[in-house]
């Protein structure tokens, strides 16, 4: 198959897969507590369906989607709801947010689930509903509600290509690789479901060429399945080829226009972990309550690929890995390139958590002193989006986020390539994130100002109206008064005339 090349990227980034890629998936024990932040997907937070003290079973929906872009949450084991309130969530800024805590009872009782004998009997609309109800979100890290991606009702363009993203390009992470090695048959089944839903004719599962074993296991599963519409391709290992837009370019040569989505060019791309969850939800009837997480780095004694209940605290997983080593320096959720540091290990695993990297000092991002930019252009050559990071940096640093936005700051995927190649060790991405949030804040401010202005204008209008009404009223009143006065005068005149008349008649008499 012909492949295309996106700009830049890092072909020789140290992969660090050997630490964990050979480790089979093990199941983590059910922890004493499960914590579910209500917002662990893109969109609106879910709303709780339970209250403190309620008994729940595994697979029971404990919070429901709110609005279109949202996702329900299901209990990962049986137990009692022990708290609904703020809890530390995985977030770069160390926020707390509303969460449901379940104290498990150790029995792990499940809600009945009904497998589906033949998914082809179901319509796309019914399947979308099942996937939405199962709480599926993008498990590659983005956590966008999967049902929306798959809902073709409002889309005009037919989907020509379904891309299954098995290019786990970020260093250290091996959960998708293990999944494809061990459960390829289920994944391919999931692909069939998706093809059926999307009425799409071809599916391409992409795997980086540094994982030949994985490739053969997927090939074997495809051969066993026999569906000619599904194929697996090897793509060059160039970070960040697993990033959605870069992968689409690699496989189709097409680019997703800025601000648009892949469906606009007839492509849907889904992470293989999510495909597995689709198979579980549709064929087995199981909602999303667990996922595979890689726990790795020099900071843990025995790295693992663990099947984990979503909601498990990170420290319970570290225990499975026989604790921290004395090299443990920094806790990172996600990989070293696009992940973020966590405040502590009380934070729960969420649906988007693909990796916990316990980094040692030399694995953590370097703390070398940043020197001035020497305009060497290395960052621009490495940028997979063809941005000019050096100029973005210049504007971001000078608090000119607007100018940076003109240079397409918002197209930056925060992949970190520019950071890695910068000879002056400038933390470029940090500046870009900052500038992006400044833009967002600006927009919000503008929005608030707009609202305030509208309110002000409405009030002015109302006041003017009221004033006019009052004026009208007082005019009427005055007129009425005048009329009354006039009437009185007439009456008075009439009575005077009468009196006169009477007086004259009296005189006469």
């Amino acid at each position: 198959m012909k492949l295309w090349r996106f700009n830049g990227g890092l072909p020789s980034l140290a992969e660090h897969k050997n630490e964990s890629v050979h480790l089979p998936i093990e199941t983590a024990p059910v922890p004493a507590q499960l914590i579910y932040p209500l917002l662990q997907h893109i969109g609106n937070p879910a709303v709780p369906l339970v209250k403190v003290g309620d008994k729940v079973l595994r697979g029971q929906k404990i919070a429901d989607a709110q609005g279109l872009i949202s996702s329900p949450i299901h209990a990962g084991s049986s137990g009692t709801v022990s708290n609904i309130g703020e809890h530390l969530i995985p977030h770069p800024s160390g926020f707390s947010a509303p969460s449901i805590t379940i104290t498990t009872d150790g029995e792990d009782q499940q809600l009945e689930h009904t497998p589906c004998a033949d998914f082809r009997q179901l319509s796309a609309i019914e399947l979308v509903a099942i996937i939405r109800e199962a709480g599926l979100v993008g498990l590659g890290g983005a956590a966008f509600p999967t049902a929306i991606k798959l809902d073709q009702q409002h889309k005009t363009k037919p989907i020509e290509t379904l891309i299954l993203n098995g290019a786990e390009c970020e260093p250290y992470i091996s959960c998708d690789d293990r999944l494809l090695k061990e459960r390829a048959i289920s994944v391919i089944k999931g692909v069939e479901v998706l093809l059926h839903m999307l009425a799409c004719k071809q599916a391409i599962l992409a795997i980086e060429d540094n994982a030949p074993d994985t490739f053969s296991s997927v090939q074997a599963a495809i051969d066993a399945n026999g569906n000619p519409q599904i194929k697996v391709v090897k793509i060059p290992t160039i970070y960040p080829t697993g990033s959605e837009k870069q992968l689409i370019k690699t496989l189709t040569g097409k680019e997703v226009a800025s601000g648009e989505i892949p469906a606009d060019i007839g492509v849907v791309s889904i992470n293989v972990g999510t495909v597995y969850a689709v198979q579980q939800a549709v064929i087995e009837g199981k909602p999303l309550t667990s996922r595979i997480v890689t726990i790795t780095g020099e900071g843990v004694n025995t790295p693992h690929n663990l099947e984990v209940r979503v909601g498990s605290r990170i420290n319970t997983l570290i225990e499975v890995c026989n604790g921290y080593t004395n090299k443990a320096e920094r806790l990172i959720m996600g990989g070293p390139m696009m992940g973020f540091a966590l405040l502590n290990d009380e934070i729960p695993v969420v649906k988007a958590t693909n990796c916990i990297l316990v980094a040692s000092k030399n694995e953590a991002v370097t703390d070398k002193q940043a020197m001035p930019c020497i305009r060497c252009g290395a960052c621009a050559s490495a940028c997979p989006v063809s941005l000019l990071p050096q100029q973005l940096y210049w504007h971001s640093r000078a608090d000119q986020a607007e100018k940076a936005a003109k240079l397409n700051l918002l197209d930056c995927i925060e992949c970190g390539c520019c950071d890695v190649v910068c000879p002056s060790h400038i933390p470029l991405v940090q500046h870009f994130r900052h500038a992006k949030s400044a833009l967002k804040a600006d927009k919000h401010q503008k929005h608030l100002a707009d609202i305030a202005r509208e309110r002000f204008e409405a009030r002015e209008q109302r006041l003017a109206l009221e004033k006019a009404e009052r004026a009208e009223k007082s005019r009427k009143k005055k007129a009425a008064l005048k009329a009354r006065a006039a009437k009185k005068e007439i009456e008075a005149a009439a009575s005077r005339a009468k009196e006169k008349q009477q007086a004259t008649s009296n005189d006469e008499s």
């Binding site: 680019e255 226009a257 601000g259 648009e260 020197m371 930019c373 020497i374 252009g377 063809s386 240079l407």
Partner: protein
Amino acid sequence: MLWVLIALLPGCITMIWQFGYGVLFNIIICLSTAVVAEAWMLKLRGRNIKPFISDLSAVVTALLLALALPTIAPWWLPFVGTLIAIVIAKHLYGGLGYNPFNPAMVAFAVLMVSFPKNMTVWVLPSSLLANDIGLAETAQLVFSSLSSSPIIDSITAATPLDEMKTRLNLSQTTDEIRHAAIFSNIAGEGWQWVSLAYLAGGCLLIGKKVISWHIPVSLLAGLFIASSIAYLVEPSISPSPLFHLLSGGAMLGAFFIATDPVTAATTLKGRIIYGLLIGLMSYIIRTWGGYPEGIAFAVLLINMTVPMIDQYTRPRVYGHK
């Protein structure tokens, strides 16, 4: 930056070998002045001295200036030049990364304009000297007043580029001119070896990925194209393209001066345009300008166009038309 210094070594050695110890004195004076001036400026500006000194950028600037100066110069010439480069052209513009003009070339240009007499006196290549000038003798020349020295006239001459230009202005043809002793086979006695040494160092830098090929190749191409056209049209009064490439500062400029990232264009397309423009401009200055050597002025002029080049050569961003 360390690789830049290493890559300049063959050039330095050839220069000293061909033109004597004057070059060595230039280098020593420039480097020591640069380090002291850099540290002093960093201190005044309240910066951390160590990481900035150890990035070697001041040393590279100083060495480039030293190699561009005349091969025998009174001590104050490299001294003043280095101060101009480091204090004015670099730090007064905001220090590393902020200077729009190449500091070494600013210094060179200021010296050229202010002390034209000293800047055009070059020692004859050693092969043309009756007897070599020793270290002590050179030191004496450098530190005593040079111009009053009686022997100075006997050991110095204009550079081949200078000579070529002067004589062309006297309506001699290139053929006649090339019989003069300083024009050996191609580009002038001594010069071609120096140029080849810079070329070798430049290739090392490209091989080591310290610089990309875009600027040097396009600069030399610009110079080559312009001189070839002239040579084809009027060979009798136009020096050959090879003469242009191998004489004066063409190689030093192409591989070591124009490639200074701070003052060059940053986009790939932009760098090719930048290099071509410098090459063309050098040819124009060499041929019609008031100075025999055009590289320095060409670099400075084209430095000014960098913001514009950068703006018009932005790459197409993913997902944009």
